[in-house]
């Protein structure tokens, strides 16, 4: 940490402790992020854990996002009863490292991990390797397939999606991380950070029957934004997504993209993906719908990007 940063954060901490308000603390963190860090960090060529540490360091370290004693939620993509090698779900090593960083380095009070899975949730949690990874790291897995855990939440900025049942873990936490895996997708063309928010919502069929792309964008207008979108592109389902049916659908690309901006990180991810499997950005309509809703930008030239090769 630079000396200047130290002074600033002390000042913010002082202010926060005087007013005792979470809001001030949050504003402090966001402003610092804008002032100090790149808007998007891309890392290539390492193991999931190393790439995460490197990327977070560029963003200002885990402590910038997670404060001591906070309740943290990590929302990976755990949609399918698939083993890690088939890349249907977020890489468990990445989730494990992130859980450890939150608990051990940042001193979080608890880390909760969940997804509203598509396949049977017990099998999916287990076979994705994520349940074991999280529990080894000291985090807690919470079911996402129980409607009573969802509470109605308004999306005033949404066009089609005005309200939805959102998982209580997201609504009740202090900070959350959106940790999708980059995949081809039969329905929404691509599934990256924006699409991953379908897993915090109960009624997904509403999305499918009411203009899927618009509903995906609408869900990203949620007032409780993730602190970061951490896109796992270590292994990528390039064809027959989102499940993939065999190893031949998977490409090992050893890459990680992180950004607080849904639209920017998804734009970058599609461009990256396009190098191995053709995918027109304009066909991934929810990204542009997101831009129209002013939740981020597709213009990567206008933002500060840090690229790292290991």
């Amino acid at each position: 940490m630079k000396r200047r940063d130290f002074f600033r954060s002390t000042a913010f901490l002082g202010l926060a402790s005087i007013f005792g308000s979470d809001k001030i603390r949050a504003i402090g963190a966001t402003e610092m992020a804008v002032a100090q860090s790149p808007d998007l960090v891309a890392v290539m060529g390492g193991e999931p854990e190393d790439m995460l540490v490197k990327a977070l360091k560029e963003m200002g370290g885990i402590k910038k996002f997670v404060k001591k004693g906070q309740k943290v939620v990590i929302k990976p993509n755990i949609g399918w009863d698939r083993v890690p090698e088939l890349a249907g779900n977020t890489n468990p090593k990445l989730i494990k490292k992130l859980t450890e960083l939150c608990l051990k380095e940042a001193g979080a009070k608890e880390v909760i991990v969940f997804d509203h899975t598509c396949d049977n949730w017990q099998k999916t949690y287990k076979n994705s390797g994520i349940q074991d990874a999280v529990e080894e790291a000291g985090g807690k897995m919470v079911p996402g397939n129980d409607q009573s855990m969802y509470r109605e939440h308004a999306f005033p900025k949404g066009i089609k999606l005005k309200k939805a049942l959102v998982h209580q873990a997201i609504l009740d936490c202090d900070v959350w991380f959106n940790v999708p895996v980059l995949k081809n997708h039969g329905g929404s063309k691509m599934t990256i950070s924006m699409k991953n928010l379908m897993g915090i919502v109960w009624d997904r069929q509403f999305f499918h029957s009411n203009d899927l792309h618009q509903c995906i964008a609408d869900s990203c207008t949620i007032d409780k934004k993730p602190a970061l979108n951490i896109v796992d592109a270590y292994r990528v389902v390039k064809t027959n997504g989102p499940q993939g049916r065999s190893a031949s659908d998977v490409a090992v690309l050893k890459t990680l993209l992180i950004s607080p901006d849904f639209v920017a990180v998804d734009t970058a991810a599609v461009k990256f993906f396009n190098q191995v499997q053709a995918q027109k950005l304009e066909d991934v309509k929810h990204i542009f719908n997101g831009q129209n809703l002013k939740i981020g930008t597709t213009n990567l030239d206008a933002i500060n990007i840090k690229r790292i090769k290991i």
């Binding site: 891309a42 290539m44 009863d81 090698e85 608890e110 598509c118 396949d119 049977n120 017990q122 099998k123 807690k140 919470v142 079911p143 129980d146 009573s148 855990m149 997708h185 039969g186 329905g187 929404s188 063309k189 997904r204 069929q205 509403f206 499918h208 029957s209 009411n210 203009d211 899927l212 792309h213 618009q214 292994r235 390039k238 027959n240 989102p242 499940q243 049916r245 065999s246 190893a247 031949s248 659908d249 998977v250 490409a251 090992v252 690309l253 734009t267 970058a268 461009k271 990256f272 993906f273 396009n274 190098q275 191995v276 027109k280 304009e282 066909d283 309509k285 990567l300 990007i305 690229r307």
Partner: protein
């Protein structure tokens, strides 16, 4: 020592009962592929599957008599528990029983009908009378919902305090028909047990009748010690089978379930359990004579069997007429993987519902008229609350009657239990011209694949050869009121194309591309 036999019998029976109860109540799949351990040691499942355990069951009965009824049959133990409660509530005095004559005609007629109809290819009578399957249905249709409700209350409380060890489970695997039928059977067996001990086992149960015949040849029997017996009737009053005629010093071996209550009741060592070679009692002589001579009864048996066979298949058909949308009209039900052929499966399944309670995806549910009247309460896949997991083989491996043949994971992945059918005019992509793809997303084999449609949109296309009939597409399809994709069952299960394993690529990508 001999006086402890009832106590030992009770302890073993309690353990067996608790295991059975747990098997049918548990929703965590704790027993996994061992859930069938005791269900396989049951007469009807062993007979239908012709398993090697028949040797054990025959040996057990030929050595010790109807001990199966006392310590292995879950319905028998349940009846003992009901009798016990009844004794406590009604008082010992009122609960005393006396010797009665056997209902020979009734019990062997029922057994004959069950046997005949089964041989002629209908499992309905066996399905309705097998004591193990009846217990299975009582536990899964009547007890299990209560168990789940209790679990859900506990889970609610635990979850609200941040404990997620407990989780809620929706009650989705029962229906009106199975609950009402089961409740009826439970009331009948319960009433028999409440007032008359093991009368059900000695009048209705075909396994009881069969073992009655068999136990005549068993090595160990309850025998009066004529020199010591004082004809005090203490044993008779304690006999739940009402088969001890104390005054005449006669025990009807065909009805004795080897519970040892008479031995512990006797104060003068007047009755003992010892080796005794078969002798023909009057009752048996009478009955054998009848079974040879009574052509009348045979005629009744045959006609009942034929009547049952001729009951036509009744299927619920949805009739719906809307101008633009097409209602789903499923012609063939979907039988569980491992069934091979619906006909063969339905003949062997006794609807114990073990598979239904163990299915992790809750997609197996009791059939109503899906397989016709003869297949009521047998498992069928209904995709309203779930779909069949691509790599799960549990139901096929735990079926105690062999109605479902065990599948390996590799076999399961190419077992085609049905084929997805796409109805374009119901589809969201066609109707609303927006992307959807929920069906394809859930398809593990990409038999349902999104193909280019128009303006960058993609629409589902089915490749039948790849489809396994898991129902992921039907379950998730958001189209209302009629789904745009549904699975039509295969009467005979076929083999789907195998998905080649393939190798993951490691393409050389040096740039980020942005």
């Amino acid at each position: 020592m001999i006086k402890f036999l009832p106590l030992i019998r009770r302890m073993v029976a309690c353990l067996v009962f608790l295991f059975f109860l747990f098997v049918f109540l548990d929703f965590t799949n704790l027993l996994d592929k061992q859930a069938d351990f005791l269900p396989r040691v049951q007469w009807i499942p062993a007979l239908i599957s012709m398993s090697g355990l028949l040797f054990f069951l025959f040996a057990l009965s030929l050595l010790f008599g109807r001990i199966y009824c006392s310590v292995l049959c879950p319905l028998g133990i349940l009846q003992d528990i009901i009798s016990f409660v009844s004794r406590k509530i009604r008082g010992e005095k009122k609960s005393r029983l006396n010797y009665v004559e056997p209902s020979t005609i009734v019990r062997f007629s029922i057994m004959g009908v069950a046997l005949l109809t089964f041989v002629f290819g209908s499992s309905l009578v066996v399905l309705l009378l097998d004591p193990y399957s009846n217990f299975g249905r009582i536990a899964s249709n009547l007890f299990r919902p209560l168990y789940l409700l209790a679990n859900n209350v506990i889970a609610d409380i635990a979850n609200s305090t941040g404990n997620f060890f407990f989780y809620k489970v929706e009650i989705t695997t029962i229906n009106m028909l199975s609950v009402l039928t089961t409740a009826g059977i439970f009331l009948i067996t319960g009433a028999f047990a409440w007032f008359r001990g093991r009368l059900y086992c000695n009048m209705i149960c075909p396994v009881g009748s069969f073992l009655g015949l068999l136990s005549h040849f068993s090595l160990f029997k309850m025998v009066f010690n004529e020199s010591r017996c004082t004809h005090c009737t203490l044993c008779e009053k304690k006999c739940k089978s009402q088969c001890i005629d104390s005054k005449n010093g006669h025990i009807d071996q065909t009805r004795c379930v080897t519970c040892f209550n008479c031995i512990s009741a006797c104060k003068s060592d007047g009755i003992s359990y010892r080796i005794s070679l078969p002798t023909k009692s009057k009752a048996v002589q009478k009955e054998e004579k009848k079974s040879v001579d009574n052509m009348e009864r045979r005629r009744i048996l045959a006609s009942t069997g034929m009547m049952l066979l001729s009951i036509p298949l009744i299927r619920a058909e949805q009739l719906a007429n809307t101008s633009k949308l097409t209602a789903i009209n499923r012609q063939t039900p979907i039988a569980p993987p491992g069934a091979k052929s619906i006909k063969e499966f339905s003949k062997k399944c006794t609807a114990c519902q073990l598979c239904i309670t163990q299915c992790p995806s809750h997609v197996l549910k009791p059939a109503t008229m899906h397989y016709g009247i003869e297949g009521i309460m047998q498992p069928t896949l209904i995709y309203t609350t779930g779909f069949c997991n691509f790599s799960c083989t549990l139901c096929s491996t735990i079926c105690p009657t062999g109605a479902l043949k065990p599948l390996t994971i590799e076999e399961k992945k190419t077992t085609q239990i049905g084929i997805a059918h796409f109805i374009t005019e119901n589809c969201i992509v066609y109707r609303d011209e927006t992307d959807c793809g929920a069906c394809s997303e859930h398809c593990p084999t990409q038999a349902v694949k999104m193909v280019d449609y128009k303006d960058g949109l993609r629409i589902p296309k089915v490749t039948p050869a790849l489809c396994v009939g898991c129902g992921g597409c039907e379950y998730i399809c958001p189209a209302t009121p009629y789904k745009a994709i549904y699975v039509e069952g295969n009467g005979i299960h076929l083999k789907a194309e195998k998905i080649e394993e393939g190798k993951q690529e490691e393409p050389q990508v040096d740039n980020f591309g942005f």
